[in-house]
């Protein structure tokens, strides 16, 4: 059985929701560097678990919405899980890490208006707690035309307290064309990261 290192972990996480996207440890200089420019200068490309014969969902999360946190005293089991699957954990503002709430996979439904996809609904099955639930949606075009960067959108918002969903969240800029295939990464505060792939319907 492999020996797990006990050095602190540098966690790359989302500023808004605390979701961990990746990690780096350093045996010699275990507490640095702490700037996102050194660990994810162009952002983090997240790839969903891929079933045999399936389509790879991948979303690039830009560096501007990421931060680096030092995890040096996590519960050993949580630490173990983060090393095994970094994207399964959530790190709090004080640097502690925890497991997200399992289950309750979110559903995202896009809506067209005037020829473009300009809003979406985000729904859970259980209502949000009293302080609401912050969320961040990363949208990326799955198959862009050759030599053109994929369309990407980052949308932030909040599911209001006591309700299981938020409706009509605007996408800015509202220029996603119906018919294109997209990948989604849905980050909801305290919940497990969820991936999805869809074709935007007119």
């Amino acid at each position: 059985m492999a020996t797990r290192p006990s050095k602190p972990l540098l966690l790359i996480s989302l500023k808004d929701t605390g979701h961990i996207l990746g990690l780096l440890s350093r045996e010699g200089d275990s507490t640095g560097p702490r700037d996102i420019g050194a660990l994810a200068p162009t952002g983090v490309k997240l790839r969903a678990p891929l079933k045999l014969g399936g389509t790879q969902a991948a979303v690039t999360v830009p560096a501007a919405i990421l931060e680096v946190k030092l995890l040096d005293s996590a519960n050993p089991l949580v630490r173990e899980q983060i090393i095994r699957c970094p994207a399964s954990g959530i790190v709090a503002s004080d640097g502690t890490a925890s497991n997200p709430v399992a289950g309750d996979k979110p559903t995202v439904t896009f809506h067209p208006h005037a020829g473009v996809i300009d809003t979406f609904d985000l729904a859970l099955t259980a209502p949000a707690p009293s302080k609401g639930l912050r969320f961040l949606l990363a949208i990326e075009e799955a198959a862009p035309v050759a030599n053109r960067a994929p369309e990407r959108r980052i949308v932030k918002g909040e599911i209001p307290a006591g309700t299981p969903s938020v409706l009509g969240v605007p996408i800015d800029p509202a220029s996603l064309q119906p018919g294109i295939d997209i990948h989604l990464a849905v980050f909801i505060e305290g919940r497990a990261l969820a991936f999805d792939s869809q074709t935007l319907l007119p």
Binding site: P5, L9, L23, S25, R26, G28, A40, K45, P49, K51
Partner: protein, 377 residues
């Protein structure tokens, strides 16, 4: 020739007037002020600490020297009341809670009232005593950043009746708008905000006992940083943390042979030919940071060469949680030119519970070794 400094002198049978005696006092005060101003930087010399109290805040007894070289003595604790803060008009509507307001002490002369029982003063309102008093005031945030004009080199101390004084920053206070009271008082509430402390202008500082110490606090406080130049124990220089007995627990030592010993790591520019390495774990999609001392600019400019080895680090515990025996197949284990790690493992279920639909490729965390060598020019 303009005479800026005039010293009184006397001769036998001279009839001394008040002006002659006053000139003696002025000369002595001027000489002291010039010393204080030109050999020291102005500020708090001793005491004058702020403490929040129920009435407001207090300034403890102490001594300071202002920018004119005037010594100001606060002989008893002074209380600045909450109502003073309101009456002085410090607050402005819209000030955020938690704002730090600077607290100043000014030295001022106050002429004492002449005695009504002295016949020679019947026709004059002159006095024969001046009280060297002080004023405590609270200013608007930012007012501590401006400084009065420096006096001419020959000038005496300021603060005389009718002349401007020189406020000295002794700390900061916070106001609680709900309770209408001082909320906190501190000499150094946060980085970049600090009482102004007196210093010294010196090109030579010489010890007499063979050991010279610089420390950051007035008294010995264990754990605080200090620097010691010394003649004993074969160590010329020590930098470290103070122990309760005033000696230093060294973090850096330079001995008489020129050997430098540090208990931590030396970071910064590396010498040509130096080779540095770093190792650890990295997860899929993360850039492997350069070893300490190597910058991206050095790499871009061709002054440092970097090699990275990424090794699969597959642990049976990383297998899917479904029952059965799982076989790991490393699908991606490489580092791109930007040093981003690509770490993917395909887990396949082996007989007897084989179900191709359960095979799954996941992001993984691998081990890395990065080595950087600095080019020798």
């Amino acid at each position: 020739m303009t005479v800026r400094v005039e010293r009184p002198t006397f001769y036998e049978q001279q009839i001394l007037g008040a002006a002659d005696l006053e000139a003696q006092v002025v000369y002595a005060r001027g000489a002291l002020a010039r010393h204080e101003r030109c050999q020291h930087s102005w500020g708090v010399v001793h005491g004058l600490e702020l403490t929040k109290t129920a009435e407001g805040f207090s300034v403890s007894p102490g001594l300071m020297v202002d920018g004119t070289g005037r010594q100001i003595v606060v002989s008893e604790a002074y209380t600045y009341r909450n109502q003073d803060f309101v009456d002085d008009g410090v607050l402005v509507q819209g000030d955020p809670e938690g704002q730090w307001y600077p607290v100043f002490v000014d030295g001022v002369d106050e002429l004492e009232r002449p005695s009504p029982f002295r016949s020679e003063q019947c026709a004059a309102q002159a006095t024969n005593r001046v009280a060297e008093n002080f004023i405590v005031s609270v200013g608007r945030p930012g007012s501590e950043l401006s400084e009065p004009s420096a006096p001419e080199v020959g000038d005496g101390p300021g603060g005389a009746d009718g002349s401007p004084s020189w406020p000295v920053l002794v700390g900061y206070v916070q106001w609680n708008g709900t309770a209408n009271a001082i909320k906190a008082a501190s000499a150094q509430p946060e980085e970049g905000k600090s009482a102004r402390y007196a210093g010294v202008y010196a090109d030579t500082v010489a010890a007499r006992g063979g050991s010279l110490t610089l420390r950051t606090r007035e008294t010995v406080q264990a754990g605080k940083p200090a620097l010691n130049v010394r003649e004993k124990d074969d160590s010329l220089l020590q930098v470290g943390k103070l122990l309760p007995n005033g000696s230093i627990d060294p973090l850096l030592t330079l001995n008489a042979s020129g050997d430098l010993t540090v208990t931590g790591k030396i970071k910064g520019m590396l010498a040509p030919g130096a080779i540095v390495s770093e190792s650890g774990l990295v997860s899929d999609g993360i850039t492997i940071a350069l070893p300490s001392g190597v910058t991206q600019k050095m790499v871009d400019d061709g002054k440092a060469e970097v090699k990275v080895i990424l090794s699969p680090r597959v642990d049976p515990r990383d297998a899917p949680t479904l029952p059965g025996f799982w076989y790991p197949n490393v699908r991606e284990c490489w580092v791109d030119p930007e040093r981003m790690a690509h770490c993917r493992v395909l887990w396949v279920q082996l007989p007897p519970l084989v179900d191709p639909a359960t095979a799954v490729e996941t992001a993984a965390t691998f081990s890395y070794l990065i080595v950087a060598s600095v080019r020798q020019d």
